[in-house]
């Protein structure tokens, strides 16, 4: 096996990296959350729990946090509903089109996040593509306002951005299922639907879990989509953190929210 020196040599650099650039900043930030800001905008190093008390007392923060969770949960569900069937089709039925379809899933990841965000702005805006289309069909006579600058817009945009992240682990786990298990299930008299429910779905659950985690965590921490298409009602927790650290210059409160 590998020598002790070799093991140490390969473990130290990543461990150092994580410590210096992740754990130490976390610790510093954690300390910040117990400090306060003076009226002269300087940080006072007096240990107290004021920031956490303020978070608990002011319902705005809980509201934003709750909304962020709701949006992230919606995105997760939608991404799974879109991603799973596509991953299933890709893995089991696409045959020759598999490579092409797989590339089509990957390609959007090459486009910048901002570009995709602005694209949704153009689609959902009051003289946007969607409203133009609806008016053209005489389904509505006035632009529908709630498309843009709403939680709805944030959910749509985030679902679009994070569906590939959900699809890929699901696809990987489906690809890992030996095909003779599917054949064995049919052989034993299980219908295609029953085979899906009793063999394919349980064996792909690790992928579903990984995909759902990606969608939930990434959208919960997202601040660009709410900034671009969210409007005041689409504000998420990250936006609050950003504004506290930036414009408000209240690092201690921002740090407290982060934890």
């Amino acid at each position: 096996m590998y020598s002790r020196a070799y093991k140490t040599a390969v473990t130290i650099p990543p461990l150092l990296w994580v410590t210096v650039f992740l754990l130490v900043p976390y610790a510093i930030l954690f300390c910040y959350s117990f400090w306060s800001v003076s009226s002269a905008q300087t940080i006072l190093h007096n240990w107290n729990l004021q920031n956490y008390l303020q978070l608990a007392r002011n319902p705005i923060y809980a509201q934003v946090l709750f909304r962020s969770m709701r949006i992230a949960a919606s995105v997760t569900v939608l991404a799974l509903l879109l991603g799973y069937p596509l991953a299933y089709y890709l893995s089991f039925h696409a045959a020759k089109r598999k490579d092409l379809l797989y590339q089509l899933v990957i390609i959007p990841l090459w486009a910048s996040y901002l570009v995709r965000g602005y694209a949704w702005k153009t689609i959902l805006g009051s003289d946007g593509v969607l409203n133009g289309f609806l008016q053209y069909l005489h389904i509505t006579h006035r632009p529908v306002e709630f498309f843009l600058y709403s939680p709805f817009a944030v959910i749509i945009t985030l679902t679009h951005i994070y569906t590939p992240f959900t699809l890929l682990p699901i696809y990987a786990s489906l690809e890992h299922i030996p095909r003779n298990l599917v054949e064995a299930s049919h052989d034993l008299g299980a219908s295609p639907w029953s085979t899906f429910r009793r063999v394919i779905l349980p064996l792909s659950l690790p992928g579903v879990l990984a995909g759902a985690t990606f969608a939930f965590v990434l959208s919960l921490g997202d601040f660009l989509a709410p900034l671009l298409v969210g409007g005041p009602s689409g504000i998420m927790i990250s936006n609050v953190v950003v504004s506290l650290f930036g414009a408000a210059y209240n690092w201690p409160l921002g740090a407290a929210i982060s934890f």
Binding site: D187, L188, G189, A190
Partner: protein
């Protein structure tokens, strides 16, 4: 058709004459442009242990998959009794498969694996535990009911796969090289168990293998498949004793193929001459190594055979390999290929010696298309 081939065909049909349980008719299957099965017609009798024997690429697994319903055939029909099997989906067929790699569901316990087929067919819940236990006891896995499949050895997984298939009481059980992943000892043990299990349950077994010894040991009949065509279908003793083709003779056991000129009831292949009932012309004969006898030096009076039923020839001993009770020796008779003989260990031989064989042991065979 030669006498032996006609005989083989006759006995082949008689074995399956009592209303075949499975009838494969003119089945053709291609993968893209490549033909895999080129017209297979085969009847399987109820309760029979039939082995489909062939080299890799002969189409044996494809034939099994067509019966199971994992592949669609390009033309032809498969009947099970009065039911057109190839038209119904795999999950409605009364056929179960034991897969080469076992295909045990990794997320289910041994019990749930075996119960899978029963649950899929909505067997009354009260019946399930008893039938599952019964099946597991039958394959000697009674104490592993709640085990996780990952903890089982290859041989144990094999038994679970067998129980999982048999618990459904299929009309035909398909086995796709089920023993090929086991080591030699376990394999021989499983062969014996498989054979007695088949007698016990009385279910028709269709067993696919590339191992001719396994085929001989287990089967009531062997269907020898070669490049998508059936070469011969007959009981193992018959295939061995009266191979229909040169390929069958070579694939099942070792043999010497003698290309002989036949004239007036005398066949001659180089220096080897014997009496035959074969028709005049050129013909290929199969002579098994164990049919050749070393003539004791005191007996070898001359080149004259003792009578018309025995043939004698002389040859130089080129090679001798010790094999315990029997030695395999290679005899140079001046032909392109040495003649191989298996004789009771005679001590070390050298020089030129005399050999004999019964003329009836030289069996006329058809040449295959690509020999």
């Amino acid at each position: 058709m030669t006498e032996t081939a006609a005989h083989a065909a006759a006995s082949g049909s008689s074995a399956a004459s009592a209303a075949p349980i499975l009838s494969i008719r003119q089945v053709i299957k291609r993968f893209g442009q490549r033909p895999v099965l080129r017209g297979i017609t085969l009847d399987v009798a109820s309760g029979e242990f039939l082995t489909i024997l062939g080299e890799s690429g002969s189409g044996k697994t494809t034939l099994l998959r067509l019966i199971a319903g994992f592949e669609d055939l390009d033309s032809g029909e498969i009947w099970m009794g009065a039911e057109r099997l190839d038209r119904i989906p795999a999950h409605h067929r009364q056929v179960n498969t034991v897969f080469q790699s076992y295909a045990i569901f990794p997320h289910l316990s041994v019990f749930e694996n075996v119960a899978y087929g029963l649950r899929a067919k909505y067997t009354p819940k009260s019946e399930i535990p008893e039938r599952v236990t019964q099946a597991l006891v039958m394959v000697k896995m009674g104490e592993f009911t709640q085990a996780a499949p990952a903890k089982l050895s290859g041989g144990q997984q094999q038994r679970v796969a067998l129980a999982r298939a048999l618990v459904n009481r299929p009309r035909v059980l398909l086995l796709d090289e089920p023993l090929s992943a086991l080591d030699a000892n376990l394999r021989r043990q499983m062969q014996v168990e498989l054979k007695s299990l088949q007698r016990e349950v009385g279910i028709t077994f269709i067993f696919v293998t590339h191992d001719q010894e396994e085929a001989m040991a287990l089967s009531d009949r062997v269907a020898l498949l070669r490049a998508g065509l059936l070469e011969q279908v007959a009981p193992p003793r018959e295939i061995y004793g009266e191979p229909a083709t040169a390929y069958a003779a070579q694939f099942i056991g070792q043999t010497n193929l003698l290309r002989a000129e036949v004239r007036d009831g005398i066949a001659s292949a180089g220096s080897i001459v014997w009496h035959t009932f074969g028709t005049t012309g050129t013909g290929t004969y199969s002579l098994r190594p164990e049919c050749i006898r070393l003539v004791a030096e005191s007996e070898s009076a001359g080149m004259l055979p003792a009578d018309v039923t025995t043939a004698r020839f002389r040859g130089r001993i080129r090679n001798q390999s010790f094999g315990g009770a029997m030695d395999l020796i290679e005899i140079d008779c001046g032909g392109a290929h040495p003649i191989r003989a298996r004789v009771p260990s005679p001590g070390i031989l050298s020089g030129e010696r005399e050999f004999e064989f019964a003329a009836s042991d030289a069996v006329r065979v058809r040449e295959g298309e690509s020999d």
